[in-house]
């Protein structure tokens, strides 16, 4: 049974169709990548899923329950955790406090403070921030800030985790660590939907890949198959030619 079902999802910004009639389904325990050239509408889909934007049309179902019209904090409590492409830790909270905050408010049922702190410590250790719980985010390198994002999203105990470009800007070593982390997450029973630009990552960890171009879904399937899809190659190469012409 599908954990997440999206049907005919559409979002316009003024005259621009950012997302057009996108439908897809993600099964429990799957790792699905969402790829596409810049401006294809990937982050817009995440914003629709997490309730930041209201879709113009279409439906989003999590475990059969309609999410459209619910506000972000409600969707979070229904079991959708997400990270942000541009890392946004709370600057005046330590690493631990950042994670505790989402653990305190994102979980259903609510847990007492001491328990949330224990869980947050455990999560920090698990993502590799165990030594840095008392540090302020601005004093940490990019990779660690991404770890905060992941720990924060996990602290809400999500069924579905949305990862928005968590691998970009990481060194190769850090990337392979991150891939390991994502695989472990799946073993914990978390379903993962991720936006990714790093193709090595996409090919490595995805069960399925969904390709978006100009807001429309142009291809979907196992990574090997999608990589040879003519339309996908056109979308990417087309973009490259346009770029080189600038």
């Amino acid at each position: 049974m599908s954990l997440l079902e999206i049907n005919g999802l559409t979002k316009h910004f003024g005259g621009l169709a950012a997302v057009q009639k996108v439908s897809l389904a993600i099964d429990l325990g799957e790792i699905v990548s969402l790829i596409g050239p810049n401006g294809a509408g990937k982050t817009t889909i995440f914003n629709l899923l997490s309730g930041v934007y209201l879709p113009d049309e279409g439906e989003i179902r999590l475990d059969g329950e309609d999410l459209v019209g619910h506000r972000p904090f409600e969707i979070c409590r229904k079991g959708v955790g997400r990270t942000f492409q541009i890392m946004q830790p709370f600057p005046h909270m330590t690493v631990l406090e950042n994670v505790v905050t989402s653990g305190l408010f994102g979980q259903v049922p609510r847990v007492p403070m001491r328990m949330a702190e224990g869980e947050a410590r455990e999560l920090c250790r698990w993502v590799g921030l165990g030594e840095k719980t008392g540090v302020y985010p601005r004093n940490l390198p990019v990779a660690d800030q991404k770890r905060i994002e992941i720990a924060r999203a996990l602290a809400v105990k999500p069924k579905l985790l949305l990862l928005d470009e968590v691998m970009s800007g990481l060194t190769p070593t850090e990337t392979s660590e991150a891939i390991k982390l994502v695989r472990q997450l799946r073993e914990r029973g978390i379903t993962i939907f991720l936006i990714e630009h790093v193709m090595k990552v996409v090919m490595d960890i995805s069960d399925r890949v969904v390709v978006l171009h100009h807001g429309e879904k142009i291809s979907e399937g196992p990574p090997g198959q999608v990589a040879h899809d003519r339309r996908v190659i056109e979308a990417y190469l087309g973009e490259q030619i346009e770029n080189s012409g600038e």
């Binding site: 904090f73 709370f90 905050t101």
Partner: protein, 314 residues
């Protein structure tokens, strides 16, 4: 957000409390009156800071203050309600108004909320002037002196409310509310995605803030024995509410209290020496703080003064 407990700090607080309790026996009526106005201002400053913790800047606390003041005065006029109960009623009515206003306006962000609060206070002032039959209009309302003019009792009452107010702030800091308030202040969108309902916590903070501001208004009307709309709904009070905590240092327990002490001393000195001098003081302090001490007195204490002692002790 770290809470450090030390015996030194506890001892200091106990001594301060004993001094505050003993204070009325040490001083004459002028200083007692001054202490009462200081405490009143501290309550306003601390309660403004409660709302500020969610990132909302109210420039219309006078609306809540005035509602509290008039609730207490009108209830006395109509049904001779005892002053202390009247003040309590003032606080409660302010909370109700804050809840209604909050739900309408706290979905707005930042500057829009601030502007709405200014407009609301001004609108109330006009409404009061236009309905003299009910509100007393421009002539204001008067009440007999509080506790038959016994300043000591008034002092202990306002001290009690101040301690209660500080206690509430302390409890907020120790609870999950602190995480919600800080998260909403630092990044409302991210807080939202992490399961925090921003509007709910902003309204809650506004209501807590309103209770103490309204109670302070009720106290003021009985203590001062005379209120007029122009004053209790005036921008002067709203500005005072925000200058004192900003000067002292935001989002701390001690900041608003210390800020109030210093600002009030300057204000009192200027009031005696220059006419309207205290209003100049507010403007100057605000400019100086914004330019040179963004974290207020507490920031200077933490970043400049404490390090000096650390090097000495090594």
């Amino acid at each position: 957000m770290n809470r450090s407990f030390s015996w030194k700090k506890a001892l200091f607080i106990v001594l301060l409390l004993l001094f505050a309790l003993w204070f009325p026996r040490l001083v004459d009526a002028y200083f007692l009156h001054l202490a009462v106005t200081f405490f009143l201002a501290m309550i306003l400053a601390s309660s403004w800071d409660i709302l500020a913790r969610t990132g909302q800047v109210s420039v219309g606390q006078a609306a809540l203050f005035g509602i509290g003041a008039y609730t207490a005065a009108l209830l006395f006029k109509w049904v001779h309600l005892s002053p202390v109960l009247g003040m309590l009623a003032g606080g409660v009515v302010s909370v109700v108004v804050a809840a209604l206003l909050g739900y309408l306006t706290l979905r707005l962000r930042g500057i829009y909320f601030s502007i709405t609060t200014i407009a609301f206070a001004e609108a109330l002032s006009v409404i009061w002037l236009m309905t003299p039959a009910v509100t007393g209009g421009a002539m204001g309302l008067s009440t007999p002196p509080l506790f038959g003019g016994d300043r000591q009792q008034a002092y202990y009452l306002i001290l009690g409310i101040l301690i209660f107010c500080i206690g509430v702030v302390w409890m907020i800091e120790a609870s999950r509310l602190n995480f919600a308030f800080t998260a909403v202040r630092e990044n409302e969108e991210v807080a939202n995605v992490m399961g925090i309902n921003p509007t709910r916590y902003k309204v809650l903070a506004f209501m807590i803030s309103a209770f103490f501001t309204g109670f302070a208004g009720g106290f003021y009307s009985h203590y001062n024995t005379y209120i007029i709309p122009y004053e209790v709904f005036g921008l002067g009070i709203s500005i005072a509410c925000l200058v004192m905590p900003i000067f002292g240092g935001l989002y701390t327990i001690a900041g608003p209290l210390i800020g109030t002490m210093i600002v009030k001393v300057i204000e009192e000195y200027l009031r005696v020496t220059v006419s309207y001098g205290h209003q100049i003081a507010y403007g100057l302090i605000l400019i100086l703080v914004v330019l040179f001490m963004p974290d207020g007195v507490m920031g200077i204490w933490r970043n400049k003064v404490l390090p000096l002692f650390r090097t000495v002790s090594r």
